[in-house]
Symmetry: D2
Subunit: 268 residues, 4 copies
């Protein structure tokens, strides 16, 4: 699917503030960047980072005053296939070395706390794809999508008790439960077609059958219409803006639209 994505972000910084931003689409094997443009106003020197293994990109800068970041891109995200129920779960011995860290607990997805619950709840479900789907069903049944219950420090433990949160919280709990079942899981930030209201989206990927599969625990947007930005252990790693000090988000406009023939037909 070809997708136009754009993000216009306006921030206010009190004084010179170091930031790391992850807003560009990843140059990952599953998507092709046909064209793109990143603009910062006022013009600021950037350090550009690209992860050789994942194609994920971040930039570093020191911002002060009011800053506007604009990113526009045309991306072909290929054909995302949905996780099959019979996707095979690997023994640890079969996993690529760089996948192993995604078995471990992290800041917002402390999977070690959920070992007993995950075993209790999902042990009768066949391993692999069926278990991952069972976790997604559990999240859908047991969590409400509600703004205002969670905040930037909310962990999967709190969401498990609150039974409510936003995309980030759904993902954190899903990741924690999946890791507690010995299946690697990582957080992913994305641009998402049909997300209403449009926003950065937080989803996750699980590793089965020799590859990563993208899933959306909120069921708010189709996996087929997602453009991957960054991946990591949880939200701490994939924030679209990590800043040294607090800064103020003054405005944020995200749009994702289809750019191919089907898009025109839809509109007809």
């Amino acid at each position: 699917m070809k997708l136009n994505v754009s993000a216009t972000l306006t921030y206010g910084f009190g004084s010179a503030t170091q930031v790391i931003a992850a807003i560009e689409a990843a140059r990952s094997p599953d998507q092709t960047i046909l064209s793109e443009e990143l603009r910062i106003w006022p013009d600021t020197a950037l350090i550009r980072d690209e992860d050789g293994a994942t194609g994920e990109r971040r930039f570093r800068a020191a911002f002060s005053g009011q800053v506007q970041i604009t990113y526009r891109a045309l991306i072909d995200n290929g054909e995302r296939t949905l996780l099959p129920r019979d996707a095979r779960q690997h023994d640890w011995s079969e996993l690529p070395q760089d996948v192993l860290p995604y078995l471990l607990p992290s800041r917002f997805s402390p999977s070690d706390e959920f070992m007993r619950f995950a075993q209790r709840e999902f042990r009768t479900v066949p391993t692999g794809g069926a278990r991952v789907l069972a976790v997604l069903d559990w999240l859908h049944t047991h969590l409400d999508y509600v703004h205002g219950v969670s905040h930037a420090m909310t962990t999967a433990e709190q969401t498990f008790i609150d039974r409510a949160g936003v995309c980030r919280d759904f993902s954190h709990l899903g990741i924690a439960l999946t890791r507690a079942l010995n299946i690697p899981a990582r957080a992913v930030s994305a641009y998402a077609l049909d997300l209403d209201p449009p926003d950065f989206h937080a989803v996750y990927e699980i590793y089965l059958d020799g590859r990563w599969w993208l899933v959306d625990p909120t069921r708010l947007a189709p996996v087929e219409g997602m453009v991957r930005i960054a991946s990591g252990r949880d939200a701490a790693d994939i924030a679209f803006l990590t800043s040294e000090y607090n800064c103020q988000c003054l405005n944020q406009v995200i749009t994702v639209t289809r750019a191919d023939a089907d898009a025109g037909q839809q509109a007809a």
Copy 2:
């Protein structure tokens, strides 16, 4: 310094249990492995992992019943220089890309929770080496080394309240406070000369002046006598044994002795 290290670990596993072990000395640039031997009894197939960037090694296996792991090595850990007070703190823009994750909060070192405290407590101390040393002084003054207060799930937040813990807890809080000051910090497992009683040791490294520096927040063993095993965001990454299910540690014997001329003179 040349050091003989040995670890004999005996575990009981209920049923076939997947494990990841990190007990071999790292082939990191700061230390040379002159000879070594790893034995598993009963003989078990191992997957060996080595991180190309850090030279750290882990092995994976599936164990059942009673298993004994023996590791012996002769290592030259070179000359570890102590962190100088004037070591320069980098702007984020100057850091190597692979150092950036160590600025972020992690499972047991949620540095985001300590931003305000760290600024309050250390803002008047010059940046760089002096701040790192001020954190170490703070830990020494405000924490008691006590067994039984903490456990495997204890985070830096709890240690900050408890004001007591073991090496792992000292390191977790030290790492959290250092990151909250915008200085990269990572957890390190080590064999340590003169640690009494002998055990695996948990210390940490901070990144200043273009390199990592090893520090021991417990002040229980000299940095010069440490052999690095593994590094990571916190204890979750560097456990000497990560196992799929609970297992029982039946026996553990660690020894570290000097192997060079000075050692003989000491004994004379």
Copy 3:
């Protein structure tokens, strides 16, 4: 039912330590103390407290060195009737003033954290007795009775995540969920017939239909065979020993046996 209860408790105190003990059976309207004896060795001055409203008794003392407390009593606990499913839930306006505090969150039963979960899980169950029984069923289905998972600081939140604990943990979570449903609940310590192994037992009471009803969330002992000791908001209020500093429990022997005719027939 007539019951013989006895407790022999031996503690070691490092230095003179203030304690508050709650080990005597309550002189509550639902049970009659036929005879009893409390002995402290070595002999120590006691302050005796009795709550006029509940008949619950505590004693205060300053202990040092090794101390043995022995309590023996013959009690008629009347006929404890089991909570009926149709017991009516009161509006707040109907509750006695002294019952109101048991609607509020407490140290180990932070019911405010469970409002959303409790409403989600139990809103379709009729109010009153049926809801309380539904909570008890939920606890029975979702928690495992396991030693070693919890400790003296474990709250209902942690037990909700762990899905395991001992009688105290079952009660804390049950109390939190019940209060989150707007039903008063309080923790009760008790001597319990048929508890295996014999120990102090932690259960709870809920207020419906104009009275308190005793329930055992662990289902390990019959409510009919319980002798009430103390009640309060949670374990913090009803500890059998609250001490100023840590003390060591050297030995603890509890026995509860039937003293009436039926007891003889059982043994025959």
Copy 4:
């Protein structure tokens, strides 16, 4: 000091909601209510509660739609004497029975978590008034009065880490530390002269030398100008409005002014 207090509170309730309100000045021995008036609009049936021991008053009601509560009173709060540094600390054996619960941990003031810190920090300070004042000095030095850091679920543990909060948070941590030093402490809600901006105030009382002493850990208002409303273990007990479901505070206006001769002279 004679004080006019008034509170006008407007709430919106979605559906019939049970509430408990604590907004009337206490009829406690240390203050005399010269005149007062409580009005609810629209007129609603109230259950009035008064605690015989403390003179504290609450009312219960079921509200729906928009409700305005107005309370006006003229109160003589006598002469509040400030806690003397040499106020004597009691042994537990000397405390009145009804003071004992204020030694125990509660929902927002889990003093059991702070035993080690409190001993470490304050053991060299003489017991009694000096220790309580040392805790107040510690709070003043180590906490910032900042809105937006804490919320309705924030406990003393989080405030201890955050090092910031509002009056309620200062009190919760102060109460926790004081109880951890074996001194009874209870939360108190109050109307406070000179509080800017005017609001309900959260302070606390400690029990020394045979009586309760009022202290303000925020140092934002003079103790002499406070009118006590309710007391309890922590904010859970003394909320000015406890409601069965969430309600919306639409408007709140509090005023406290001097009503005696001095007031006129001040204004001249």
